[in-house]
Amino acid sequence: MQERVLIVDDHPTFRRFARRLLQDEGFVVVGEADDGASALDAVRELLPEVVLLDVMLPDVSGLDLAERLAGMAGAPAVVLTSSRGASDYGTALTHSSARAFIAKGDLTGAALRAAVTLQ
């Protein structure tokens, strides 16, 4: 099964390598967005099944954006990511409606797939 993924991150280097890595591992990367507003547009337009979402975006917190995405019809599975570790966000991650959190240093296709299939 080839999941359709949208990558949301304001660092172009990360987006570029993450796209190739996920494609290598069988994902279909349908698009990229560099902030919260364009991420919302892209989700409405491209209807991804998975959104790999950076916690710190320039215009909005990834945690807030995850809540908005969860409220949409046909909500995609949101996986949060950050260059910081999970403990740097205190209890905020456990209260989030996102499916999972993967530190950027630990990102692999397998980790993402495991997170998405996690129920």
Partner: protein, 569 residues
């Protein structure tokens, strides 16, 4: 007071008396009227000249002199043989002394009308006093009116005026109102005056209320035609005239007696605490609104007794008296300016105490500056840490993460063998480097503190601690400098406990009390912590830089309790 001004005063009094004697002989005025009238005017003019000469800065002398001259002119013109000229000049002068009297009372003791309401009232009183006679000069009542005042033969006479009587009654009613307004203003003046000024004001105020009341009675008698009252009212008028110089004399004597408190001031200043000179001066001068300003020559500024910079400016409602050469200034009730001698005596008595007060204020100012600059340095340091953490996160960390992802791509593309092993090794090294970098950034300034506040940040610290930690903290956000200081107190305390305390459990509480954040870290370890060690000393400095309090309670064998209290203001 020069002997010349005494001589001028005596000469004028003599001239006034002689003129009235000659004219009254001509007119056949009774002796008692002559003696009383002449005495009042002569004494008033002389007293005015004496005050004028002895206190040229005060306008009271001018006003008293003018009042006396107006009284003399009004009386003298009344004694002139009947003539159109005499009536034309004399009639407008009849009420002028009353107007000057009102002006003088309301302007006492400086001779200046400071209050806007007083100025307006005096203006209306002057206008009414000059204008009331005009209708009587230009016209006469209709010839058929039996109980009307007969017309005055003046140079301005035009003819009969129908409503002349009504106009006269209108003026009488206006005078009653003005008299009442005057009494109200005098009472208001007394109520508003500071105790020191009230001491000198009350005799004149009593005389003025008496004068105002008799003026109202006289106007009422005119309005309602009580002719039989006239004789009594005339004597009351004379009595109220005499009451004023007596009241002024009592006022002056009271002021003299008030110099007694300067002696008490000297005694009081012997025991005064730093910052207490203002209160002592305020008590001595009877002005609770008094402000003390101290001159700091090195800075070229005025400061109060706490070393805070203040402006010293003279306004219509605040007067300034300088003490010593570039030492201090008293900002006070302008009415006190009339008691220059008392102000100077108090200032001289307080000079040594003021020198001390100034040193104290200078020290306070320097301490305040030092405290403010220390807090600024700590805050600037915190801002710099936050910026550094952000730079690490956005810069080096992102690039290394990119390299990590690139290595994963490479690993997938090289066949198993030495190259693949090298790539895997590089990935492992990179992961370690990233972990170290993350720890470094977290130590510089934790992101969770900025994003979610102190409670969450402390819970994160608790999770990483090797010793079980209980945390009691609500989610309330505090000012960022308070959160940062409190966070580092907890982080350092936990590090100390892990290294030295041999503890089994730690309890951390954060609460807000009386506008301060109170952080307490308590362990059940071996105690006996050295509060002067560089770690705890650094924390104490950081907390004190924010005007906070820091304490370490660590009896040997009974655990350690570190407490920081940081004001949130």
């Amino acid at each position: 007071m020069t002997s010349l001004s005494w001589k001028v005063g005596a000469a004028v009094a003599f001239a006034v008396g002689a003129t009235d004697v000659v004219l009254s002989a001509y007119q056949g005025v009774t002796l008692s009227d002559l003696v009383v009238g002449t005495a009042v005017n002569a004494v008033t003019i002389s007293a005015g000249l004496v005050v004028w000469a002895s206190r040229p800065a005060s306008r009271m002398g001018v006003l008293i002199t003018v009042w006396g001259i107006c009284g003399f002119l009004a009386d003298t013109v009344g004694l002139l043989p009947d003539s159109r000229l005499g009536a034309t000049v004399g009639l407008p002068l009849v009420l002028l002394p009353s107007a000057v009297y009102a002006h003088m009372v309301l302007a006492y003791p400086t001779g200046r009308l400071v209050d806007r309401v007083d100025r307006a009232a005096v203006g209306v009183i002057y206008a009414a006093a000059l204008l009331w006679s005009l209708p009587l000069l230009v016209g006469s009542n209709p010839s058929g009116c039996t109980d009307c005042v007969p017309g005055v033969p003046s140079l301005l006479f035009i003819g009969q005026i129908g409503p002349l009587r009504t106009i006269g009654q209108g003026f009488s009613a206006l005078f009653i109102m003005l008299g009442a307004a005057f009494v109200c203003l005098v009472v208001r003046r007394i109520r508003r005056a500071s105790p020191g000024v009230r001491r000198t004001l009350w005799p004149l105020a009593l005389a003025a209320v008496f004068g105002g009341a008799q003026f109202i009675a006289r106007s009422a008698a005119n309005l309602f035609g009580f002719a039989s009252w006239q004789e009594t009212l005339l004597w009351l008028d004379r009595a109220s005239g005499v009451a004023v110089p007596i009241a002024l004399a009592i006022g002056v004597l009271t002021t003299r007696r008030a110099r007694g408190p300067v002696g008490n001031l000297v005694v009081e200043l012997g025991n005064v605490e730093p910052g207490g000179v203002r209160d002592a001066l305020a008590r001595t001068l009877g002005d609770p609104t008094l402000e003390l300003a101290l001159w700091l020559p090195d800075r070229g500024t005025w400061v109060d007794e706490r070393g805070r910079e203040i402006a010293v400016t003279e306004t219509p409602t605040r007067a300034v008296t300088l003490i010593g050469h570039e030492l201090a200034a008293i900002v006070h009730d302008p009415d006190l300016a009339d008691q220059q001698a008392l102000l100077e005596a108090a200032g001289s008595a307080a000079r040594l105490a003021l020198e001390n007060e100034r040193l104290h204020a200078e020290l306070r100012a320097q301490l305040d500056e030092l405290r403010a600059s220390r807090a600024r340095i700590v805050r600037a340091g915190d801002d710099e840490r936050r910026r550094l953490e952000r730079d690490l996160h956005d810069g080096a960390q992102q690039r290394l993460l990119g390299v990590g992802l690139a290595l994963q791509l490479v690993r997938a593309r090289v066949p198993d063998g030495e190259a693949a092993e090298l790539v895997a090794e590089a990935e492992q090294e990179l992961r370690e480097a990233l972990r170290e970098l993350r720890d470094l950034a977290r130590g510089i300034h934790p992101a969770v503190l900025v994003d979610q506040g102190l409670g969450s940040a402390i819970k994160t610290l608790a999770k990483r601690s090797p010793i079980p930690v209980g945390v009691s903290a609500d989610g309330e956000r505090l000012p960022s400098h308070v959160e940062t200081a409190a966070y580092f107190v907890v982080a350092e305390a936990l590090a100390n406990i892990a290294h030295h305390a041999d503890a089994g459990h730690v309890d951390i509480t954060v609460r807000r009390e009386n506008g301060s954040a109170i952080v307490e870290i308590r362990d059940d370890g071996r105690g006996g912590a050295d509060a002067t060690g560089s770690g705890l000393q650094g924390l104490a400095d950081r907390v004190r830089s924010l005007d906070g309090r820091f304490s370490v309670h660590s009896p040997p064998g009974s655990g350690t309790c570190v407490t920081a209290e940081i004001p949130c203001g």
